[in-house]
Symmetry: C2
Subunit: 407 residues, 2 copies
């Protein structure tokens, strides 16, 4: 194992609250090995590589790295660029020029695709390179992963949002709709279910992309809950689709915005929530209907980080370097659940992960397709850590209205 050269680390795609834990885990581990002569960071992912915009992370203090690890959002900045054939050629030329032999890319599905393309190109052109994909995504949609770093912190934010909103709607009544990220996977939306403590707590309804969304069924569901409780709290995924697989949000937008990976912009406006709220106001004649789109708050909120997520994000970064040093081949670091609760990290071939999307399995979705099962709650609970806030209601006895005890 004597492949000697520099290591290059970059971050791609949307940020998470713990993505810098993975960065720092990889940097600190990489600085331990003689084979790795220097540790570079590329600014803005693939863009920074193409521009040779590197910083020398061998010259960053341990103290500052530890502080950056606790800072949300990509410290090396990010991109949504997808490299084409010409870019790959340029990238390998730049790697050669700097003798970069270890390449770590922290990202989600699209970033795993990117690293896979670069890895294939390097192999084809006989440039010896260890390319490792370090997973992150709040969407939790990487295949062959029990869950992904970044998901648990975003899930904790979503669950805490619904914890508060539940109580708010309990106090003032009405219908509340929260629109949640997650693209085509329902995991993050389903995390709202952790807010349920008392039997009448919301979210009373949960709509995810894994089940076709029907306006008629939605209105019937809301009406039933509202008639029962005098309020209705609803978690809706930004990615809900009609029975033909067309995202509901695309039907609402004048101009569809797409990134280089062909992803439609689902977040960043209130259209979906407002449409659903208007529908309820009009069809069900309920006056107090509120919709919030959780938007960019949920993916890099400094004060809402799962300790478990933090630790695992650190470990995937560390393990990525260990795999690069100890394995012949590159690959993608994946998380396997090996105990209740414990995880282990396994290196999988890049093509097994790249560009694929994991969806919520059927066992986590209720029969009516408008909520989760207990099995999902059992799956997600340990990821949120032991310090998830608890709420408590008053339970003092009711006073008899009739005057019996006047003093």
């Amino acid at each position: 194992m004597n492949l000697t050269g520099k290591a290059l680390i970059a971050q791609g795609g949307g940020p998470t609250a713990v993505i810098n834990q993975s960065l720092v885990g990889a940097v600190l581990e990489a600085r331990k090995y003689n084979q790795i002569t220097k540790v570079y960071g590329a600014i803005k992912g693939i863009e920074g590589i193409l521009d040779e915009d590197f910083i020398d992370l061998s010259q960053e203090t341990f103290y500052n790295l530890e502080r950056v690890a606790k800072t949300p959002s990509s410290a090396l900045l990010s991109t949504r660029i997808k490299p084409n054939e010409k870019n790959c050629k340029e990238i390998v030329e730049i790697f050669k020029k700097h003798n970069i032999r270890y390449f770590f890319y922290i990202g989600g599905n699209d970033s795993s695709d990117t690293i896979s393309i670069i890895n294939d190109y390097a192999k084809e052109h006989e440039y010896e390179l260890k390319a490792i994909h370090i997973p992150k995504t709040i969407d939790n949609d990487l295949v062959h992963n029990d869950h992904t770093p970044g998901f648990a912190s975003a899930a904790s934010f979503v669950a805490q949002t619904f914890l508060g909103v539940n109580l708010d709607m309990r106090a003032l009544g009405g219908v509340y709709i929260g629109i949640i990220m997650g693209r085509h996977a329902g995991f993050l939306t389903a995390a709202a279910s952790i807010a349920m403590k008392y039997p009448d707590d919301g979210p009373h309804l949960i709509y995810i992309p894994e089940r076709g969304f029907s306006v008629t069924k939605f209105l019937k569901d809301v009406e039933d809950v509202y008639n029962k409780y005098g309020r209705c709290v609803i978690a809706v995924s930004e990615g809900i689709q009609d029975s033909n697989g067309t995202p509901i949000v695309t039907k609402l937008m004048k101009k569809i915005e797409k990134d280089a990976h062909g992803n439609v912009q689902l977040s960043g406006n209130g259209a979906l929530g407002d449409m659903l709220a208007d529908l309820i106001k009009q069809k069900l004649n309920i006056s107090r209907v509120r919709a919030d789109t959780l938007g960019y708050l949920q993916r890099s909120f400094a004060g809402c980080v799962s300790i478990v997520d933090q630790q695992e994000a650190r470990e995937v970064g560390e393990r990525a370097v260990q795999f690069a040093i100890c394995n012949e081949e590159g690959g993608s670091v994946t998380i396997e659940r090996v105990g209740d609760y414990s995880v282990d990290y396994v290196l999988k071939p890049l093509h097994m992960i790249a560009g694929l999307t994991k969806h919520m399995p059927d066992e986590y979705i209720n029969e009516a397709g408008n909520h989760v099962t207990e099995s999902f709650k059992y799956y997600i609970r340990p990821l949120l850590g032991f310090d998830f806030p608890e709420i408590h209601l008053l339970r003092a006895p009711k006073v008899n209205g009739v005057l019996v005890d006047q003093i």
Copy 2:
């Protein structure tokens, strides 16, 4: 001081993260005095009084009260009802029937108005009553208060939102608009300024209701910041008005929703943010423009509570009971800043507070009317507590692109 009878506590208006601290402060303090024979809670504020829907808080464990204190949103539930003459008569009849002699109402401007109306009616009809208003509002708009319980926790949520979003926009670029609560006062929106650490950090622009909002000036401001930094993070109050004092949001909505106090619904949809985002896309030709409406998340988020806020909310509840026992007259408990940082509580006549709105003073607003001054930051910083999260950027040196150090 021998007015003997029951105490009744209720909560009105929008919830906060610490409103139950005030409730529990008042309940525990009230349970200490022989003059107070029992402590009742009214369910849903004024509605619960009119319906005689009371619970006996003398029969609630200390342990559960302490847990409820840490739970956000009104544990006694809430209302936006404003009592009319007929209601006042009924309320005083019910007070008589139950021998309720101490009345504590936790709420904002509208609730202080409510308690003032009831107090005046009782006095007029010679029913001896100690009516005390306990302040709360995330809007921070109660006159004669340095700040109000609930504000600091919401401010911390807003500041943490911008802490994360700043980093997110630094990583991926573009324009971000966050729409913040606060009605006609800019304090909560201005709290976003605490997210600024590095010189190029946002929010780069802050728009509050205290300054007339001009679309032309707004677009010019955004363009200037975007040209300078390649990104622009903007905090906008839900209550921004044009130069005639017409809220911008009311111009956008088909149907204006008002509560019993005549307040227009400003939150609960994404209209204002989406309108401003579309404006920037169209007029400035910037493609990545995102808008989030912080909505109901900001007022009862369990995991984002200022310790200072928690303690002060508890104290105003305690002091309310002490004032009721030791003073001849009822009134409104206010917070005065007496040190840096220390506060004291002063009982003010109800008519000095009731129904009035405090605005951001000029000294907190910059000359251009699109940001805050250092003076505002100095004012708000101690309210957020010592555990407000810190962020850190990498500061490793840039690598020379030219091949000088290949190994």
